[in-house]
């Protein structure tokens, strides 16, 4: 099983290695824009409790970026399933089906972490202050795991690539902006706030922000993330196991 996970991961690693320079360059664009527009541009005129806006912003960008990257790292599996049918190679091989899910998710976590380190370096260059602890890393990884699993689920269930774009537009994009990434959810109307505080990305944003500023954090949020990652693993494995039905 471990070997099979490694095989699945190895395949993604081969592909990533070949595209590494392009991958890194393209991953720098969006965070740079956020940092310039919201950090330098808007941020100069905004004061948040306990520091500058850019310090507030960086954990939010890390959260939304790791979500987008890990989700979109797994979505090409959709093409492997529908167009190239190369997923059949895994289905006829004597491997444990879970290892495909785990291998793909781990590869997406790796991509999420690489792009997160790019942001950390950029943010530091922009003069932001933050602390990175092991718990900070754990939260970031959990966030990648959750959205990689959701990406895997989408790749297994969605019929066309167009619909994948819709998932990005209707689900990921709103979450990117609303889940405590650019502003605190406290200012939102109650009903909206409750809903948004159920979403995993909100917990990630708050945890990352709390840890990086050295403030107290709610450990229950970590449990929420663990719960989401297990739940998503259950559903993404289930759709994968059902492929042959």
């Amino acid at each position: 099983m471990l070997y099979d996970i490694w095989t699945v991961f190895w395949r993604d690693w081969l592909v990533l290695k070949r595209r590494m320079p392009r991958f890194i360059l393209s991953r720098m664009v969006a965070p740079m824009l956020y940092l310039v527009a919201f950090g330098w541009g808007l941020g100069r005129s905004i004061q948040v409790i306990g520091g500058s806006y850019i310090d507030f912003l960086v954990p939010g960008i890390l959260a939304l970026n790791s979500m987008n990257i890990s989700f979109n790292s797994v979505t090409p599996v959709h093409a492997e399933r529908i167009y190239h049918k190369s997923l059949e190679e895994y289905l006829v091989a004597p491997i444990c089906p879970y290892s495909v899910v785990i291998g793909k998710v781990l590869a997406a976590v790796l991509r999420g972490l690489i792009s997160s380190s790019i942001i950390v370096v950029l943010a530091w260059l922009f003069g932001a202050h933050f602390i990175i602890t092991p718990l900070f890393l754990l939260v970031l990884i959990l966030n990648c795991v959750i959205f990689a699993e959701i990406g895997f689920f989408a790749a297994m269930t969605i019929a066309s690539f167009e619909e994948m774009g819709q998932v990005n537009t209707y689900i990921l994009l709103p979450m990117s902006f609303l889940c405590g990434t650019f502003f605190s959810t406290g200012t939102l109307p109650d009903a909206v706030r409750w809903f948004i505080e159920l979403l995993p990305l909100t917990h990630t944003s708050y945890l990352l922000r709390g840890i990086s500023s050295g403030a107290d954090i709610a450990l229950s949020s970590v449990l929420v993330l663990v719960f989401y990652s297990l739940l998503c693993f259950f559903f993404s494995s289930r759709v994968f196991l059902r492929l042959s039905k």
Binding site: L14, L91, V92, P94
Partner: protein, 288 residues
């Protein structure tokens, strides 16, 4: 080696009134294939050949029925059974982001082959299908026939004991096709069980010990190619009728010759072949 009992597969699809209805792709198929046998599955487009192979290779779950390898049901033993099989699918399904060599390497790793063994085997097979020079090329750069050859090489890497080939020689040039035939015969001599589908009747005739003919999901004949021809009549008289080419079958050359004399004109006489059997069984009787 392979035993199939009352295998059924039904698919849902939308008919022309946009209603969801069930279509039976494979309808109660029962087969028994011996070890080391080359077994052919023939049938017109849509007969259910690919669906049968997909069920046998655990890519599609049967609606009902059982499949056994070596008297063990594959249901519940998927992982160990998958170790035994090699699959050449009807469509090309390489990983488009990997090179020729990497595609084979992925396959070998997925079948738990050790490093030395896997490199030796990949080299050997690439040489056999004459693609050794292209080991670092992207699979997208191969011609159609090269892809087919690579597909066959890939299926053999892990020394499968049962080989499934779904139209393996489509789009191959005559030389390569003959080499693949030679390879299949060689595998059968090594006691590999081979199940293949094809639309090239000549291929089934020269390669297969027995052939099954499927039509609309049903088994409508199962025999050796020779026995099929004998049952139908060993000799065929062929002539141009008013609107189509006509055929009649005879047990002896004498009867055939007499009939031809009666006809006169442009009739000709020849030995019957599996193609005649195929057309007779799947075409005319069903009234197309």
């Amino acid at each position: 080696m392979i035993r199939v009992e009352s295998l059924v597969k039904k698919f849902q699809y939308r008919n022309k009134n946009n209603k969801i209805v069930w279509r039976t792709a494979v309808d109660g198929l029962t087969l028994d294939i011996r070890q080391g046998e080359v077994f052919g599955l023939l049938g017109p487009n849509g007969a259910g050949k690919t669906t049968t192979i997909r069920m046998l290779t655990m890519l599609t779950e049967p609606t009902s029925g059982e499949i056994f390898y070596d008297n063990t049901p594959i249901r519940g033993h998927e992982q160990e059974m998958k170790q035994l099989i090699g699959v050449v699918p009807q469509h090309i399904n390489f990983d488009q982001d990997l090179t020729v060599g990497e595609n084979l390497e992925l396959h070998a790793r997925l079948h738990h082959m050790g490093r030395v063994e896997r490199h030796r085997r990949i080299e050997e097979l690439l040489a056999y299908v004459e693609l050794a020079d292209l080991v670092n090329a992207n699979v997208r750069e191969l011609s159609g026939g090269m892809k087919r050859r690579l597909l066959i090489a890939r299926a053999l890497i892990h020394h499968p004991r049962i080989l499934f080939l779904d139209e393996p020689t489509v789009a191959l040039d005559p030389q390569v096709r003959r080499r693949i035939w030679e390879l299949i015969r060689q595998l059968a001599r090594e006691q590999v069980t081979v199940l293949l589908t094809t639309h090239y009747i000549e291929e089934a005739e020269t390669l297969c010990e027995r052939v099954a003919i499927l039509n609309k999901g049903r088994l409508i004949g199962l025999d050796t190619p020779q026995a099929f021809c004998e049952q139908m009549g060993r000799y065929t008289v062929e002539w141009d009728a008013v609107d189509a080419r006509e055929y009649r079958f005879f047990d002896t050359r004498r009867e055939a010759a007499d009939f031809m004399a009666e006809l006169g004109g442009s009739a000709s006489i020849r030995r019957s072949n599996l193609e005649d059997v195929f057309i007779e069984l799947t075409g005319r009787r069903e009234g197309l």
